[in-house]
Subunit: 205 residues, 2 copies
Amino acid sequence: MKIITISREFGSGGRELGKRLSDVLGFDYYDREIVTEIAKNCGLNETYVEQELGHFAWHTIPLTFKHSFSAYYAVQSAHTGLLLEQRKVIESIAKAGRDCVIVGRNADVILREYSPLNIFVCADAASKLQRCRERADKDEHLTDKQMARKIRSIDKNRAKLREMITDAKWGDRGNYHLIVNTTGWNIKQLTFAVAEYAVRWFERG
Amino acid sequence: MKIITISREFGSGGRELGKRLSDVLGFDYYDREIVTEIAKNCGLNETYVEQELGHFAWHTIPLTFKHSFSAYYAVQSAHTGLLLEQRKVIESIAKAGRDCVIVGRNADVILREYSPLNIFVCADAASKLQRCRERADKDEHLTDKQMARKIRSIDKNRAKLREMITDAKWGDRGNYHLIVNTTGWNIKQLTFAVAEYAVRWFERG
């Protein structure tokens, strides 16, 4: 079984690369599907689950609940519960034994024993801003400066979420097999380059 | 003209990858050749030039010359002179207009305007130690601990030398087009994967 995990900076095109990679290689693809599964298992709303999992709870909750420790702990433990459920869902994907691409959610750490190919995707600030602008709908009102701040804040959050489960830092070169900078690439063309690399990686030995 | 620059952690196999890449792609190869050229241009001994360029002068010299400012400045300016000569030699390689692979020496920064493909090569500590052990001759007497310390110290030095000419930090993902982790790879097999990636990179548009 071959597993590719994609970690990525927000706006780098990592998700698109992951999706296309799964198409080119004929692998299953998991991203949003994981949220759907968690929501189903827990009897919760998908949007709620997605929002909760996307935030680093310890950091954000005290702003709202600062005078109520019990509420704080309740929310904190709900968050931990969702993270545990997420781990279960990701492990069950691996146990199913089918070749797949998994985007985000620290699957590289969770599935370490399955020896996945771990790819990190980055891009320079200008390209990320441009990509976010192109797909912006609900963020249309943001200025470039605000959008750039949002990009940095989402990445910071991803790094913090990762810190909860491993010392191996988010985006550090030593923790991935390949780090791809998408700046100047058309993601479709890039997909072929990465797919060839991946095929050779799985054949190495 | 296509230029590939290889920056690398000591012991990661980056030099071998660069050499093999130049063979597979039919590119010229520059590494030690740069030192030879500098030595010739300056009328200096190659070993001396190599040693000088490999050290971050500001950092190391005061240990020897701590009581003599004039000697300190003399050596410091000799070091700067060699760095300038190195820059000239690297620029002349690019001006010659032939496809090439250049290993080390911050060629990625020096040749920025030529839009090279900048690759960084890393590996985990155990692989680097093993690779150094395999090729060790003069370092045979070092214990594993001492060798590991040597590896870290050489990389630290490379990072410092780079700081002299740019804010773009050594080994930071944003400053390279591709970061390749050689752990678990046979460098010969890896070469083909990187070569294919490089070909597509130069064809992208």
